[in-house]
Symmetry: C2
Subunit: 426 residues, 2 copies
């Protein structure tokens, strides 16, 4: 009986052509990151559910795949809260596990610690085209560096990593959560309403300034405050990159000195980098980045003709402290790995040789011929001759073979089997 | 407040030194497998629970991490079977997902299909030293090859892969489930008791022949049958490798001709291979391999001084058919990846350079110096000077740095910063 062999809902299988592209992209990206000293770590896919549901994951916490405790009775007692049946969950990002990892292993890690993580995360989102419930993230983080050296290096390394896979035409968008807070304060948006203000501002790309003002006016924020805040932000948008620090300080009364100084320092790093290679960047005060845990500069990379960002990150100096009991400076950048692989069409050609063995060729003979080809450096597969030769050769070509050797029983035992023949390239 | 930052029970974090070893081993193994034409595929970690609990996983099915359905009410109604709350589970091996994958994607796969899978699996086993509840498996499988070409190639490729990571001294143990069935038939062990016979025989390494006979006698198998079966097996153990086929045919009345012919063919492949490189192998009729789904030859690799096998596999021609509705020949070999990495002590040295920047060095200057070193091919990290220099240098050495460049504000802006200085190797 034939059964439905589809993957679980919202998930997908990766075929050889898919993994070839992904391995190629991953190898190029991690090669660059390694040169910067980022070292790969790995945490388990499962984390304790209390940690996953501690509030740092925003809406992602609603999308957790929750794991049943082991050894429960086969029938649930009346009135049991669902929560009591669960002790673990699948991670929805790589940052929550990293903060736990650092807390557990800090004594054995260098300072600063440059972490590279690549791996799947899981979110039970509504299935839609091009979005899957299991997907890879690729994160780098610097833990223990308090200055914008961290921010600037993360941006330099990630733009270089993307260039290594052919995405050289990216623009860095830079902002600072502290700047946004100062704007909100200057506009007299009270602290409880500031989160809503950020969330609305984050939609600017989609709904425009009028939409933002309308949404702010429809909320709990006073119309004058909303207008003052959006005016402030619109004003600094026009400041040239080279004059950012003074510009934002002049525009936003009460902006802390170190926020302007940090923006100036990051700007200096990016300008210096731009002198050595193609790099476009802009200060964008409308950039928010969704997660609530950011405490300083936030940034993302955008590429032409591709909606949304291909990488995003920022500083989160308070997150590790929640678990460790003392704050540790941290800053991270996450590449949207699935989006990148969608953008990369190229994959390395297979270039394999087929030893096409007639049915009467002894396995030992076929394997010996293949062994000889591999010793010459050829990727070689032994394949049984079947059906019409021309049709089989067409299939081989489609599967990435570039040459074949037709092995018959009578020449298998001779020292020199029939010569390698080329297959045309489609 | 400090929280417990340990990984979930029975799981572990992998530190940079761990992943360096693992990446090194994996790269060597997959490099060899690629030369044989195995292509990497990937399936989701989650599978539908019905498939995972369909009986092909033996005891592993009791160890599944089960995932709660999404959107359930917060409180469970009285008398709800636990089973009704679950729809997914984490895979406990890579073979069950592979059979589903093949069923779903066969039209887009070459014939035969050589699959390579590397990835984590999860089993909620009792935690014990050196065993973890998330661990990696590394499997190759040939789907669509009916002859022992598959078995012999899997063994050749896997012994070569292990040699590539320094495990050249392995012995192949070979048996055949059909041979064991013929022995049981010849000894008049009825079909229902044969599974128990195999399970007991599998313990020979641990409990010896006396133990096996005692356990068989204590079970449902008649003492004469048990004695006859063990005598038959003991007899063929002494047959020299070169005379296996005739030997087993003579020793076991009723052994199907193709079983002896297949053993002879695999033996011929292994003998031929042994003429080109170091390879030890033996026919071992006491080899069972735990999984119930094997239908033909089974094999494993053992290495001196290491209890248990480092790789195991066999033919399973009936497994895909359970889902696809028609049988497809299949044969696989799984490397115990965690065991292998435990055996491999060596890992590549890090050989990184530290740009040791005094606190007053501007980030842009530090990054520019590091950029110059990377352009020369050096793995380079920017690290802030802090504390006593001698102590910091010792820490750098411990973290795998082999040289450093001490950057002060006054020479950061000159064209030529201070020279690279070596760090001693510990």
């Amino acid at each position: 009986m034939k059964t439905d062999n589809s993957p679980a809902r919202g998930m997908r299988d990766l075929l050889p052509a898919d993994t070839a592209t992904r391995d190629h992209v991953l190898s190029a990206i991690t090669g660059v990151y390694s040169q910067y000293g980022y070292q790969r770590i790995e945490t388990p896919a499962l984390e304790n559910i209390d940690r996953l549901q501690s509030g740092q994951g925003a809406d992602n916490e609603k999308l957790i795949y929750q794991v049943l405790k082991r050894g429960l009775a086969a029938e649930v007692e009346a009135g049991t809260p669902l929560r009591d049946l669960v002790d673990l969950g699948l991670r929805y990002d790589l940052t929550v596990p990293l903060t736990r990892f650092y807390g557990a292993n800090q004594a054995r890690l260098p300072a600063p610690f440059r972490s590279l993580q690549v791996g799947p995360v899981w979110r039970a989102e509504r299935p839609q085209k091009g979005r899957y419930r299991q997907f890879y993230q690729c994160d780098i983080d610097i833990i223990g560096e308090t200055t914008v050296l961290a921010e600037a290096e993360l941006i330099e390394a990630t733009t270089e990593a993307l260039a290594a896979v052919g995405l050289a035409d990216v623009t860095v968008r830079l902002s600072d959560r502290r700047f946004l807070t100062a704007v909100a304060e200057a506009a007299r948006i009270p602290a409880p309403g500031q989160a809503a203000f950020f969330i609305t501002l984050d939609k600017l790309d989609k709904i425009g300034w009028d939409g933002v003002r309308a949404e702010l006016a429809g909320g709990a924020i006073a119309p004058e405050a909303a207008m003052a805040a959006t005016d402030l932000i619109a004003a600094v948008r026009d400041i040239p990159a080279g004059k950012i620090a003074d510009g934002v300080a002049d525009a936003v009364p009460g902006l802390p000195d170190d926020v302007a100084a940090d923006l100036a320092a990051t700007a200096a790093c990016l300008e210096r980098l731009a002198a050595t290679r193609h790099l476009a960047w802009e200060f964008d005060p409308t950039l928010v980045r969704g997660m609530g845990y950011y405490t300083g500069q936030v940034f993302e990379l955008v590429t032409p003709g591709f909606g949304g960002s291909v990488a995003g990150g920022g500083r989160y100096d308070k997150l590790i402290g929640r678990w460790l009991g003392r704050d540790v400076a941290a800053c991270g950048f996450s590449i949207g790995f699935e989006r990148i692989t969608d953008l990369i069409a190229a994959r390395p050609p297979r270039d394999a040789v087929a030893v096409l063995a007639e049915p009467d060729v002894a396995p030992a003979d076929a394997l010996a011929v293949a062994r000889g080809l591999r010793a010459e450096g050829q990727v070689t597969e032994v394949i049984r001759r079947s059906g019409k030769l021309a049709a089989q050769l067409t299939r081989l070509e489609g599967a990435g073979f570039t040459a074949y050797l037709h092995l018959r029983a009578d020449d298998a035992t001779t020292a020199q089997p029939r010569a390698l023949r080329p297959l045309g390239r489609s």
